[in-house]
């Protein structure tokens, strides 16, 4: 019961609570008052009643005595008949329920009864404590006993009247109570309304709508409270807006960075990753949280990452790692930076890592290194090879002077020839260098042409030397159409065929064949094949070097194959030579990458 009451009480709002308390107190006071006043009324009535009874009895008694004995005939003659008549005609009080007269033999000479119905609940009657009053009065005249006069009076009428009054009181009380309750309710509601709206507004606030405000109303101190509340809400809204904005900016930064970022706790368990990181694994960001590297990487790699994490967290120092990394089945180079994260006490609590794909950069670096090395080699070669003729020229000029002084005419002629040769060589070298640099700079647009046609063009240019050496040249008639720089590819063909014709050796039936074949790996390779001197495979790379000549006595500067190689590489193709050895002939192959449709 107590439990239920306390539960109900707890569910009540302030206004009903206050109303209830006030009402209950009033009810208590009023009930007490009603009780007291009812009691008082009843007591008063009863007292009056008793007085009335006695008066009635006395009147009746006097009447009985007077009537019975004073009939005018004999002074002491008791007349029962007359008594009954008197008793019958007496005007009794309304409360009298029974009247009787018993003579000396105890025989009821007269008896009259009347019933007054009790119209109240029994409890009220009991509560009033009123009982039927019996009054007996012996009739004794001049010492002679004539009989007993009895009178009963019931309190029922009084009780009924009291009940009516009581009911009226209770009704009035209930009405006024209701009135009081209502007015209290109303007044409280009015007074507490701002507080109630505060409750509602604060509820809306907590639900996330930060734009709501309380209407300022009520008593001054309440107004102050509401004003403060509104200010608080406004500053809260502003702070939250600023926070949200900064969060949004941070989010944008994190999610837009191509850098892959992750945050791990002390046990190398992921706390968070950014989108770029998750995308790398084709997973969602949420799928990382709470898991470690063993879930996402092969055990060996995960162990390595964990060891790195531990090193960073234990040393408290940033670590920069470049390593191989497999993403969606592709091998990449990545650069990872791991940074220890500290709490306010300075203890390392987490690890922030970022890594970026540097595969392309590494590739570019390697290419640049290659280019630099190539350039260095080129400069070295040029400076060396251009210096050689100068040494020759200066040397033999000096010798020429000495010869002139000595009159050694025979040697002078040879010296002059050497000087002339060296200047020719120098000129040829310079022209070749210029040509080589032109290949890289001047790229003509690629066009479609047949490789057969390119080879035939080359043969036309080389007609003289081919005829002089009696070489039989065959060209495959239906070589594929390629998409390339025609001028340069023709140059390649020309150089290769010219070399083949030039290094025929003592071949009695010199032959050169130009064609095309599929390699084991499916690529299409063009070839220039001869049955001449052949090449020692020891020198298969060296021959493509700038100004490299296997035979110092041969014509030319040794730029031909370097030029060819450069052209093919500019077309993203490859070139190589195959030869079974001396006098076994050689085959030069070159490929051009896949042609556009």
């Amino acid at each position: 019961m107590t439990w239920l009451t306390s539960r109900l009480w707890a569910r009540l709002n302030l206004v009903p609570r206050l109303s209830l308390v006030v009402t209950l107190s009033i009810l208590l006071v009023v009930t007490g008052t009603v009780y007291q006043s009812t009691q008082y009324i009843i007591r008063r009535t009863q007292d009056n009643l008793i007085v009335e009874y006695n008066q009635q009895m006395e009147a009746l008694e006097s009447l009985v005595v007077l009537v019975s004995f004073l009939d005018g005939k004999s002074s002491h003659n008791f007349d029962v008949e007359r008594l009954i008549e008197v008793l019958s005609n007496f005007k009794y009080s309304a409360d009298v329920t029974q009247v009787s007269f018993r003579d000396t033999t105890d025989v009821a000479a007269f008896s009259q009864e009347r019933i007054i119905k009790l119209e109240t609940p029994l409890f009220f009657a009991r509560w009033c404590g009123l009982e039927t009053i019996y009054v007996n009065r012996p009739i004794i005249v001049e010492g002679v006993y004539y009989g007993l006069l009895s009178l009963s009076m019931s309190p029922s009428r009084i009780i009924n009247r009291g009940w009516d009054r009581y009911l009226y009181l209770v009704q009035a009380m209930c009405f006024s109570l209701a009135l009081v309750l209502l007015s209290i309710w109303f007044v409280l509601r009015k007074a507490l309304h701002p507080l109630l709206s505060l409750a509602e507004v604060s509820k809306t606030l907590t639900q996330g709508d930060l734009s709501v405000r309380v209407k300022i109303a009520g008593s001054p101190e309440l107004q102050r409270v509401l004003l403060n509340f509104n200010q608080m809400a406004a500053s809260f809204q502003a702070t939250l807006a600023a926070l949200q904005e900064s969060e949004t900016i941070k989010h944008i930064i994190l999610e837009s960075l191509p850098l892959k970022i992750f945050l791990k706790d002390r046990n190398s368990v992921y706390l968070s990753v950014n989108k770029a990181y998750a995308d790398d694994h084709a997973l969602k960001v949420e799928e990382f949280v709470g898991k470690d590297d063993f879930v996402f990487y092969p055990a060996e790699l995960a162990r390595k990452y964990r060891a790195d994490d531990r090193e960073v967290m234990e040393s408290g120092k940033l670590k920069n790692i470049e390593e191989a990394y497999t993403v969606l089945g592709q091998d990449r180079m990545v650069r990872t930076i791991k940074v220890p994260i500290r709490n306010e006490a300075g203890e390392v609590t987490a690890l922030l890592g970022s890594f970026e794909d540097i595969t392309e950069r590494k590739k570019a670096e390697q290419q640049l290194e290659q280019k630099n090395a190539e350039l260095e080699r080129f400069t070295y070669t040029i400076s060396h090879d251009l210096k050689s003729p100068i040494i020759t020229i200066k040397g033999f000029l000096g010798s020429l002077v000495a010869d002139a002084k000595a009159g050694n005419i025979a040697r002078m002629e040879g010296d002059i020839k050497r000087i002339a040769g060296a200047t020719d060589k120098m000129q040829a070298l310079m022209e070749d260098v210029l040509e080589l640099s032109r290949i890289g700079r001047m790229v003509q647009p690629s066009i479609k042409f047949s490789m057969t046609a390119a080879a035939q063009d080359a043969i036309e240019v080389l007609y003289g030397i081919i005829r002089a050496k009696g070489v039989k040249v065959t060209i495959e008639p239906d070589m594929p159409v390629v998409f390339a720089d025609l001028h340069r590819i023709r140059e390649v063909m020309q150089n290769l065929i010219e070399n083949a014709v030039k290094y025929m050796g003592n071949q009695t039936e010199p032959q050169v064949a130009v064609g095309c074949r599929f390699l084991a790996d499916g690529r299409q390779a063009y070839f220039v094949k001869d049955n001449g001197l052949g090449i020692d495979m020891k020198f298969s790379d060296k021959i493509f070097g700038l100004f490299e000549k296997l035979d110092p006595h041969s014509e030319g500067t040794g730029i031909g194959l370097a030029l060819v190689k450069r052209i093919i590489e500019l077309h993203h193709g490859t070139i190589w030579v195959e030869s079974a050895g001396a006098d076994q002939g050689s085959i030069f192959y070159f490929t051009l990458p896949q042609q556009p449709a």
């Binding site: 060396h384 210096k387 050689s388 000029l397 000096g398 002077v401 035979d551």
Partner: protein
């Protein structure tokens, strides 16, 4: 000068340079015999007495090797490396004579234990002077292990 005949192996692909060197050495009366080869492969054939150089009397073991760096087939550095890693050949003094002044070349050449590095002078007088000093030093003053 002791007047003894000393053998020089000249490894030089440029015929003109070879002629200049030969002439300078002769004119400075450095008494010696010059054996000239034109590329790295030939040089190694000579030293190992292979092929056309099998005859020991016609192609004797040199007391000094004059080596150019940029050579056809096998280049000078490779020849130097081979000589200096061969137990029999490594005691022969090797003088690198080249037109290259590249620091890289100088470092590599000494790393392969060449005995000297000389740059061919552009000037004729200096050239002959160098050849004179070279002959004088290596064939005169220098005590050769093969003798």
């Amino acid at each position: 000068m002791k007047g003894e005949l000393l053998n020089i192996l000249l490894v030089e692909d440029n015929e003109d340079h070879a002629e200049l060197i030969r002439r300078s050495l002769e004119e400075n009366q450095v008494a010696n015999r010059i054996y000239w080869v034109q590329d790295g492969e030939e040089a190694l054939d000579y030293l190992y007495q292979r092929g056309t150089y099998a005859d020991k009397t016609k192609s004797p073991c040199p007391h000094l090797i004059l080596l150019d760096l940029r050579l056809p087939k096998i280049d000078g550095l490779e020849v130097l490396k081979t000589i200096k890693t061969d137990e029999k050949l490594k005691s022969i003094p090797v003088v690198v004579l080249t037109s290259s002044e590249s620091e890289q070349d100088i470092c590599k050449v000494y790393a392969f234990h060449a005995n000297s590095y000389l740059v061919k002078p552009l000037d004729f007088e200096k050239f002959t002077r160098l050849m004179h000093d070279l002959g004088f030093y290596w064939l005169g003053w220098n005590v050769n292990p093969l003798k």
